[in-house]
Each structure stands twice: as C-alpha cells, then as structure tokens.
C-alpha cells in the first residue's frame, strides 16, 4: 500500500532563554519548553520571568508554535505555598501547557488555574497505558513517557489510549527511572527531584564485596585496553534521527529534544535537523530517505556517544560510557549573520567565538540551508583589514560568494 502524507507530529525543543526560544522556533521547532522562576528542575538554566513568558508565547503563537513551561519538581512541604498563583501567572502569560510531575502540583494547576493545560512530566516515569488512562481521566492533555518505553510499547499504548503521547528523541538520559533516583540527595545533599541533581551516576565507583568482616575485596575489571575500569552508571546520549518513521508511525504526538541547559548552537542545530527530517517523512513517507548530512549535523553538537536508548530493547554496555571516550569532532559556534549585501557579496557577522582568515567555516540556517567556505578576507567595523576576530560580539564582515540570511549561524571545526 502506498503511504500518503501522514500527520505531522510536533518537534519540541528546549529553550533555556528567550533568545533560545526565538532561535528554536526560527529553526523549525513546532513547540518549545522553558522554565519559570519556580517549580522547575533546571534551577541553573536561564529561567523565564512571567513577562518573558508572555513575550515568548506571543513570538511563538505568531509563528504557529507553542510554548510549554516545565514545573516538574517533586514538592516538599515548604515548596507548596504560592503554586496556585504561579500557575495562574503562567496561564495568563499565554503559555500553552505546563509540564508537571508531582500529583499535588498537577492538582493545584488544574483546580487553581482553570484553563491551563497540563502535561505529565517524564519524571513521573509513565510506562504503561493504564497510567496514561489514569492521567487522562484526571484531565491531563498529554503524557511524556518514561525514557524506558520501547517503540513496540508505544504502539500498544496507542491502541489503548488517546491521550497525547510525547517521547524523548534526543539528548542526555537518566541512567535510572526518572524521579526514582535520589543518589544525588544521599551522596551530595542535592535533591535530584527539586533541580539539584549532581549527576552522581556519572561518577567512578569502586565495586566490592565483603567475604569476611573487615575485608573489602575489589571486584573491578579491566577494559580491552588493559586499563582498570571503575564501576560507572553513565548513560550515553540518545538520538533517534535514524528512526523518525518508527516514531511517527507508532503514534507519538510530540518528539522531544532534551537540553534546557544547552547552547544556542545545540538548540538551533538539533531543532533544524529533527524538524527537517520529520517534515520530509510526513510529506512523502513512501519516498522518505534518511540523509547522512542530518546524522553528521547532530554529531557536530554531540557531547557524548549516541544511542537509541530503550526504543529497541534493554540497553547493554554499549549504551553506557565505559573505557576511553571516543573523541568527538568539536565544532565551535563562531557567529551570527546580521546582514548580507548581494552587490558586494559582503556578509556582516556578530562574532561569538574567535575565528579568522584561513579558517574553514560553515554557515547554517533554518530549513537546513548550508554553505561551507574558507574565510579569505576579514574587516572590522571601521573597514580595516584584520586577520582574526578575537573579541566577543564584535561586528566584522568578509566576502561570502553564496548569499546567506540574517539569523543564519556560523560554526567552525575546532583544531583537535
């Protein structure tokens, strides 16, 4: 049977700041999620004031996109006061939904901020369709699945519930069931469920038994390189770029990208790749082909190895960071295009990282526009020729034969 165009699921990108919100949407995200000043798990991310939320929602809505606010802490007694007011402010800022984990905060959002839509956070580790049914009955619009759920399980869920399903497709992963880990609380006195996670899972531990009292017998082994390998629980990151059809066909309504702490470079790149791939598949599923350039593009912003998580089975040792880390190509974000003059072929750029004459740089923009060239000349804002642009945010211009657009970004591969 010929596949015709299919429903386009949402590509949901993280936005740690108002700037990242605009960039994520410009680069193709159908929705973004942000944090407020309270109740969010990313206490160190740049969080939004209510005014910034309203401005962000306006920007998104004018472009047909949505904005969600993550308020997914698990509250203790002293965190409860003011939650209702917080949710009313969020609603009145025009936010499309809040992402909540704690049942008490879900109840507060529903009862004290009527009209505000609520999504269940992945922190609640929803892993079966009856759990989805429970939360739908409570009035939730959507459930973000636990990262432990596989493709076949999602298909089965889809047959038993019509609540919206959101699933992570890219980014860092917890090694444990999200929400069910308090390593950080016990090892670092930082509450993982209130934004304090110290990532203790990524530490290097000793592994031992106690055959006789007072005797600590090490059980550590060696990697293939002969080096002692400590016990660790560090997950590699997730990337589902090679499996977009599986996700869409399984009935996922929203494909979520992790990373509210991540950079403009990451957000623009990942949003660009996934929105391009999803659009490509949904417009013509029959002729869809994964493009190697999408995969390559994601590696340019990768911080760890990439894997498919639990989507195709229980992760084995290859899905954890053991042994010597593979050296990933590192790309630096070097600037943003402010203007392009078609007559003089001069591109004006605001610098974000040191670059200069002789560097190979890559322009990239929304809709996967790409152009690579070597910088052959460079001028400062007084039109003086220079060799390097070392100053943060300085305005420079140089010759670029191919037209580029304001808002396009420049990256350069760092010398290894």
């Amino acid at each position: 049977m010929l596949k015709t165009a299919v429903k386009h699921p949402e590509v949901l990108a993280p936005a740690g700041t108002p700037e990242k919100l605009r960039i994520a949407i410009d680069y193709g995200a159908d929705a973004v999620y942000i944090g407020g000043d309270a109740y969010g798990l990313r206490s160190r991310a740049g969080n939004f004031s209510f005014e910034e939320m309203a401005a962000g929602a306006k920007y998104a809505h004018e472009r047909g996109a949505k904005v969600y606010v993550a308020a997914n802490i698990v509250a203790h007694e002293q965190n409860l006061a003011g939650a209702g007011e917080f949710y009313r402010h969020v609603r009145d800022a025009g936010i499309d939904a809040v992402i909540v984990s704690d049942p008490s905060l879900i109840e507060t959002a529903i009862t004290e901020a009527p009209g505000l839509k609520v999504h269940l956070s992945t922190q609640a580790s929803a892993t079966n369709y009856e759990t989805l049914n429970f939360w739908q009955r409570e009035g939730l619009e959507r459930v973000v699945l636990a990262r432990e759920v596989g493709i076949e399980e999602i298909k089965e869920m889809r047959q038993h519930t019509d609540v919206q399903i959101e699933a992570f497709v890219h980014g860092a992963m917890c090694i444990g069931y999200s929400g069910r880990c308090v390593l950080s609380n016990h090892l670092s006195l930082r509450d993982a469920n209130r934004g304090g996670c110290a990532q203790n899972c990524r530490w290097k531990y000793d592994l031992f038994d106690i055959p006789e009292l007072g005797q600590k017998r090490e059980l550590l082994g060696h990697g293939t390189d002969g080096k002692l390998e400590k016990f660790s629980m560090s997950a590699v990151d997730m990337s589902m770029i090679e499996h977009i059809p599986d996700l869409v066909d399984a009935g996922v309504d929203s494909l979520k990208i992790e990373g509210r702490m991540k950079t403009v470079h990451y957000v623009s790149t990942v949003a660009n790749v996934y929105s391009t791939a999803v659009r490509s598949y949904c417009e013509d599923p029959e002729h869809y082909q994964l493009k190697q350039e999408w995969v390559d593009e994601l590696w340019k912003v990768a911080q760890r190895e990439l894997s498919t998580g639990f989507y195709y089975g229980t992760p084995n040792e290859d899905f954890q960071l053991f042994g010597k880390r593979r050296r990933l190509p590192h790309y630096a974000f070097v600037g943003e295009v402010l203007a392009y003059d078609d007559d003089t072929k001069q591109v004006t750029v605001q610098q974000r990282n040191n670059f200069g004459v002789g560097d190979q740089i890559e322009f990239y923009g929304p809709h996967f526009a790409h152009h690579t060239q070597v910088v052959s000349d460079l001028f400062d804002d007084k039109n003086e020729a220079i060799e390097r642009a070392p100053h943060a945010m300085e305005i420079v211009h140089f010759t670029c034969e191919q037209p580029v657009k304001p808002g396009d970004f420049l990256r350069a591969q760092s010398k290894l």
């Binding site: 002293q78 965190n79 079966n128 069910r180 006195l189 000793d206 040792e317």
Partner: protein, 307 residues
C-alpha cells in the same frame, strides 16, 4: 495504637514475627512488588494471610512496581486474586494499577507507595482523594518537614523506622553491563551476592547494589534506625512504623522487630524513657549485620541543608 509493619521472608518467619508483636506483615511477589526479601506465589501468600488473620494481624501485599504494558495487563487479575484470598491491603506506586483497582471495584484498600516521590501532605491528600487508605512517606523527608506535614495529612502515613533504604532504581542491568565491558564475569549480581559500591574518595562508604527482574537497585550507605526518634514520630501522630528486613539476617530481623515492638509498647503505654530507648537501641546495634552501618538518615537534617 501504634502499628508495626514488617517484611516477611518465609512462612516460619511470619509466625515468628507475629509472636514478636508485629501488627501487619508486608510481603509479595517480585513480578509485582519491589525489593522484597522473598518472592511469594499467591498460594503462599494465602497461607500467610490465613496465619495472620488467625492471630488477629493484617497483611499488606506489595504491588508497587513500575509496570510496563506486559505487566500492567496482569495486574487486574492479580489484584482480584489478592482480594479473593483476603489480603487486607496492597501497596501501589503506579497510577495505572490504581486505575485498574478502581475499575475492578474490589474490596481491597491500597496504600500509596512511590518510594522517594511521596514528599508532601498535599500529594498524600491527593492520593487520599483517590481512595488511598494511607501513604508511605519518602525517606528523604526530614523531621522538620514531618511536623507541618503531620498536621495537614488526611490519611495515615507509614514511616520506615528500620532497614535498608533504596535510593536508585534503574531499568538497566548496570552490573551485567559493567561485567560485560570488563569481560570478567561477576557470576552473580543478585542480592545474596552481597555487592557494594563506594563513592570516589570515600572508601569507607558501602552502598549495596543488586539486580533482579525489576532492574538494578542501589541502597543508602547505612541502614535506617529511628529507635531514638520514635517519641518524636509518636508525638506527631505518625504511628505506622515499618521495618524492612531486606538485608537482615532472618532470625535477627525477628529480634529487631521484637525490640521495636517493646519500644512501641512503652510509647503506647506512656512509659518510654530515654534510658529505656537507648537500651533498646543498643540491642538494635548488636543485632545489625556487622558489615552494615546504621544511622537515622535524613531525620535530623535541616531542610535548608538540602539544595
């Protein structure tokens, strides 16, 4: 009256625990329940229910797993089975299981148990409004938070007063994965194997770790002992106390329960003195497995110390 709850590792131990003064036995099958000293089949649970009821005691069965589709399908029938054999209560942490329990309209109360997630009175009352008969309080709630919490709760909470404290559950076989990478077979990775991990630069720490069909579990450095803090719990009206014998010697665990039962009786009769509790706590320490430490966990922490 204060209620003492204890985990069960065998029929014989159940009988001994009843003799030691336990009010409620806690047991289950590891396909449905988490981190249990023994996995009982329904027929074995039925025998213990009969024993408990003959002695005027109650039984709670653990149905507190994080269920995927394959298991949630079996939960409804299991709950029905538990109701049929006369189980007094089940513990549940997955809202999907609550959904099924409510649909089945069984005469089977449930206590909400989502491990570390149960941290506030408003959350506990949320489950109360969803017909929970009680809730198991997270171990990460300090006494200073229990004070206001105790005034707001509309259903009773259970507080663990003794035993190993779970601090991590992974869906991955973390020990197997490590073992595969270093290509040195860890022959066994179950609880009996007695594996520990210690944190970097803290060689003296010893976090128990094991794998089972629910994934990998990690426990706090020391086991919990709230013997000396029982009067504070009692005064707050938090009077359902659980002892977890997951990592205890079967015989010594019965003695631990008997020791806590003495403390409970003294408190209920208004005769608990600091000296008496300190003497009982001495016994708790003597009965503790030598390789496992004891402390009172987060009880004394100033909530502001936790970032």
């Amino acid at each position: 009256m204060t209620e003492l709850v204890a985990t069960v590792a065998s029929y014989d131990q159940a009988a001994a625990l009843i003799a030691a003064g336990v009010d409620r036995l806690y047991l289950g099958e590891d396909y449905f329940g988490l981190r249990l000293p023994h996995s009982f089949k329904p027929a074995e649970i039925a025998e213990i229910v009969e024993l408990a009821h003959k002695n005027g005691r109650k039984v709670t069965v653990a149905v507190n797993g994080i269920f995927h589709n394959d298991r949630i399908k079996k939960v409804a029938a299991y709950l029905e089975k538990m109701a049929t054999i006369g189980v007094d209560e089940v513990s549940i942490g997955d809202p999907g299981a609550i959904y099924l329990l409510q649909q089945a309209q069984l005469n089977l109360p449930y206590i909400y148990d989502a491990a570390d997630l149960v941290t506030s009175s408003r959350q506990i009352n949320f489950w109360g409004k969803h017909q929970a008969s009680g809730a198991v309080l997270a171990h990460e709630v300090p006494y200073q938070e229990m004070v206001p919490l105790s005034k707001q709760i509309e259903i009773p909470v259970e507080v663990t007063v003794y035993g190993a404290i779970a601090i991590h559950q992974s869906g991955r076989p973390l020990l197997q994965n490590y073992s595969n990478f270093v290509q040195e077979h860890l022959n066994k990775t179950d609880r009996e194997r007695g594996l520990f991990i210690s944190a970097p630069h803290k060689e003296e720490t010893h976090y128990s770790i094991y794998e089972d069909l629910n994934g990998t579990h990690i426990f706090a450095n020391n086991d919990l002992d709230l013997m000396l803090d029982l009067p504070k719990l009692w005064d707050l009206g938090l009077r359902r106390w659980k002892l977890d014998g997951l990592y205890a010697d079967a015989g010594n665990f019965v003695k631990q329960v008997a020791t806590f039962a003495q403390a409970r009786d003294l408190l209920d009769q208004g005769q608990a003195t600091t000296d008496a509790l300190q003497a009982l706590d001495q016994t708790v320490h003597e009965l503790q497995p030598a390789e496992r430490g004891l402390d009172n966990g987060f009880f004394d922490l100033d909530p502001n110390e936790v970032k």
